[in-house]
């Protein structure tokens, strides 16, 4: 188990690093889009490259961030029923889901999209818009993002199996990560604590 767990630590660190890098691209996308709108209106100038870079950046964020999102267990679930199951049963469902759904899915998408990326690279395919950008870097996000997701899926699988075998901690204990609502609540509670001091016994 030890070398496998070492592998999970490596993958987790990789996706954490990638996640923390790509979210800055969002800020870039916001600034470019805002500037672009102003420039277009004020100087009547528009550039297809500036328009396209916005969705290039966003595609990079959500595709490259997929592994990171899985690492933080933030892919949305319908937990009406499963929240009533024991933690072990929930983890068994995840194990089955990763093996049966997620790994084949990642493999299939990488396998289907790679030839297209390769062809776009070799032919130097360009955007059909005048002054647009070269296409292969954004196409490449698809297999790359799913590769990161695949790695993370393997890591999550190992961590869950280790937990089930009693050789590791719960990968996502309840309440380990604070949501935005909880952070806001905490901050406001701290500020307004004196409004209703002294809870009566």
């Amino acid at each position: 188990m030890t070398p496998l767990l070492a592998f999970t630590r490596l993958v987790d660190r990789l996706n954490e690093r990638v996640g923390n890098l790509v979210y800055w691209l969002l800020l870039g996308s916001v600034l470019i889009s805002g500037a672009n709108a102003v420039v277009r209106k004020a100087f009547n100038m528009s550039s297809n490259a500036a328009l396209e870079i916005q969705w290039y950046l966003f595609a990079a964020v959500f595709l490259l961030g997929a592994g990171y999102t899985l690492l933080h267990d933030a892919h949305v679930r319908i937990d009406v029923l499963s929240s009533r199951l024991s933690r072990r049963k929930q983890i068994w469902i995840d194990v089955a889901g990763i093996v049966v759904f997620l790994l084949p899915l990642c493999g299939a998408i990488i396998w289907l999209s790679w030839p297209i990326v390769e062809r776009a690279y070799l032919t130097g395919e360009m955007s059909s818009n005048a002054g647009g950008l070269v296409r292969w870097p954004v196409y490449a996000m698809l297999p790359l993002g799913f590769a990161l997701l695949l790695l993370q899926a393997v890591s999550e699988l190992i961590k869950r199996l280790a937990f089930l075998a009693g050789q590791g901690p719960d990968p996502h204990p309840k309440g380990a990560e604070k949501t935005d609502e909880e952070l806001l609540l905490e901050e406001m509670r701290a500020k307004h604590a004196d409004d209703r001091l002294e809870i009566a016994r």
Binding site: L31, K41, F58, V61, Y68, H75, V76, L105
Partner: protein
């Protein structure tokens, strides 16, 4: 809406509700059984020669999806895996071409290149920055000071601030938390009826679902293949009407049950002027001046435009005039207050000064975002980006922006975008197969079995979405159900923009309905659960019980249902926002859409269905 991750108290009713939800889903799957299995076999005479699976693959696929989803495995992956799995089966059975999945990467590139979806991270980021910028607290404090001295004042302040927060932060949870922590203690301290206090806060919080720039409307517009700008403009009048009936409710209470919504006592009304006056007269004068300037601007707007541009006087569209007039009036008030402050003229009372400086930046932000989108100056994506930049500027101006907040907002936005876009990726894989096996025709046949034509469809769909809204995240409903429902609605002649606004309103009602509505859980998490001694009055105040929270929601749920009924009975309420004027055959809910609206291309250029829209009833499409 961000994902609910707060503790949802376990309830005995939970299991019951779950059964209801499952029954609703089963209804969708199970109908062909009731009406004879052959309804599921779609347009193929040779159906009997095929195997059972080949004849029933669409319902089996949909049923499997429901099963996969309720295991609790991430929705995106369950959807995609279901699509792949049944795609392979369909190819094997000869129902789909062998090259089915060759089209998949192109579909996914289509999702990536859809720049309307960029509005999702932009507005999310804007909301996350604003909710932590302290804007909500200042607004509640200031508007509360203005309305506090009148009966029902604090409740009115909650409704109005709720509407402003909806148009800026757009996050239900954040609104309910802010108002629950700031306004609820005040209302409880000064003897408000607790159910009224709780209901007002929850209902005002859910306004974020329906008031533009709601994420709900963006996603619905995308899934229905309509422009986000049109969806926003269509939602504008209904959301104003909704705020209006909330206000009306509070006002009626103030007359009928004055003890339920007392005015604040004099000692609680905040600092007074040096001469002991409340300073309200000054505020009133400033407001009157601003309104007069606005009206004057509206009346002469066409001439002002002509004078500035040097062009001959042209008719200006009504919505453009309104937006510009509001800007002019409010801008004048702000300029006056600013000059007054800089020069130390002391022409304004302290309260007038405070109102101006607290209220105007968020209003300016609303105009920057919604005004430009409504006027067609900016696309919703650009509006979102400018809103996000405006939010950053406001947070900097308030000294609230720091590295950790920025990082945290970006991080949350990235994760939300990722899960939303992956659900969309998943649903693209699912629909690739579902379309190949003629699933949409199966769905259509399901609804054909319903009595009542378009109206039967609308009632069935709204009920289904209402129930699902208790249990499912909004994004799941939008990405899984809407693509199935949209073609049916379109075929029945239902206007999809109107349909989208209706769904948004129904979902909002769902989020407010006890015992499962999300808003109730958020209020529960911030409302005092044990008795406490109030710091100001030194009186013991009893806890807000869960029963009081539930009862508080009920009158507002009724108001919501009235609004939904109004939308169904009078589709004009939605379509007026689009500048459409044709009469509508209410029974058939059939609305003809001018061809121009169908275009999906450059939203900036076709934002106005009818430029220079004539007043209702006088347009070229006068009532038939």
């Amino acid at each position: 809406m961000s994902r609910l991750a707060m503790n949802r108290p376990t309830m005995a009713l939970g299991t019951l509700g779950l059964l209801v939800a499952l029954a609703a889903l089963a209804m969708l799957i199970g109908l062909p059984g009731g009406t004879g299995g052959d309804t599921a076999v779609v347009g193929s005479a040779a159906a009997s020669e095929k195997g059972w699976l080949a004849s029933n693959i669409a319902p089996v696929m949909f049923g499997s999806l429901v099963l996969f989803l309720i295991t609790g495995f991430p929705v995106a992956f369950s959807l995609a895996a279901c699509g792949m799995f049944f795609g392979l089966i369909a190819v094997e059975l000869g129902l789909a071409p062998a090259a089915l999945f060759q089209a998949l990467p192109l579909r996914l590139f289509g999702v990536m290149a859809n720049d309307t979806l960029l509005a999702i991270p932009f507005f999310t980021f804007m909301g996350l920055i604003l909710e932590r910028s302290g804007m909500a607290e200042d607004l509640l404090e200031t508007v509360g000071r203005v309305f506090g001295p009148i009966r029902g004042g604090i409740a009115l302040a909650v409704v109005l601030v709720g509407a402003m927060l909806a148009a800026t932060t757009g996050v239900v949870a954040a609104s309910v938390i802010s108002m629950g922590l700031i306004s609820l203690p005040i209302m409880m301290r000064y003897g408000y009826n607790r159910t009224v206090a709780a209901g007002t806060i929850m209902a005002s919080g859910t306004l974020a679902q329906i008031i533009p720039p709601s994420l709900v409307l963006i996603v619905i517009a995308d899934q229905l293949g309509r422009s986000v700008g049109d969806m926003y403009r269509a939602a504008f009048i209904p959301s104003f009407m909704l705020v209006g009936i909330y206000v009306l409710f509070v006002v009626v209470l103030a007359f009928v049950r004055p003890t339920w919504v007392p005015a604040l006592p004099p000692e609680a009304r905040g600092p007074r002027e040096a001469d002991g006056a409340s300073g309200m007269r000054s505020l009133g004068l400033l407001a009157a001046a601003a309104v007069s300037i606005g009206i004057a601007f509206a009346v002469y707007y066409e001439h002002i435009v002509a004078a500035v541009t040097g062009n001959p006087v042209q008719r200006a569209p009504v919505d453009e005039t309104i937006v510009m007039a509001l800007c002019a009036g409010i801008g004048a008030a702000w300029l006056f207050a600013l000059i007054n402050k800089m020069l130390g003229l002391k022409l304004l009372s302290q309260i007038a000064q405070q109102v101006t400086f607290v209220l105007i930046p968020p209003l300016a932000l609303i105009f920057l975002v919604l005004g430009t989108i409504f006027l067609g100056i900016a696309t919703p994506t650009e509006g979102g980006a400018m809103g996000a930049i405006g939010a950053l500027a406001m947070a900097i101006a308030r000294g609230r922006l720091n590295m950790s907040l920025t990082k945290q907002a970006l991080n949350s936005t990235a994760k939300l975008s990722c899960f939303v876009l992956f659900v969309l990726v998943g649903s693209s894989v699912f629909s690739l197969t579902f379309q190949a096996i003629d699933g949409p025709i199966w769905v259509e046949h399901l609804f054909e079995a319903l009595p009542g034509g378009a109206m039967g469809f609308i009632l069935a769909v709204t009920s289904l979405i209402f129930v699902l809204g208790f249990f499912l995240d909004f994004f799941e409903i939008a990405f899984i159900l809407l693509p199935l429902l949209a073609p049916v609605a379109d075929k029945l002649g239902v206007d999809l923009i109107w349909f989208g606004v209706l769904i948004a309103m129904v979902l909002q009602t769902s989020f407010l309905t006890p015992p499962f509505g999300f808003a109730l859980f958020y209020l529960r998490s911030v409302a005092p659960a044990v008795d406490y001694i109030d710091k100001v009055t030194r009186k013991r105040i009893s806890a807000l019980t869960t029963a009081q929270i539930y009862r508080g929601a009920i009158p507002f749920v009724i108001l919501q249902i009235i609004m939904v009924a109004v939308l169904i009975a009078f589709p004009q309420t939605v379509l007026m926002g689009l500048g459409k004027t044709e009469a509508v055959d209410v029974d058939a809910v059939k609305i003809d859409i001018p061809q121009g609206e169908e275009e999906d291309g450059d939203e900036a250029s076709n934002l106005f269905g009818a430029p220079g829209a004539a007043p209702p009833g006088a347009g070229p499409d006068a009532p038939k």
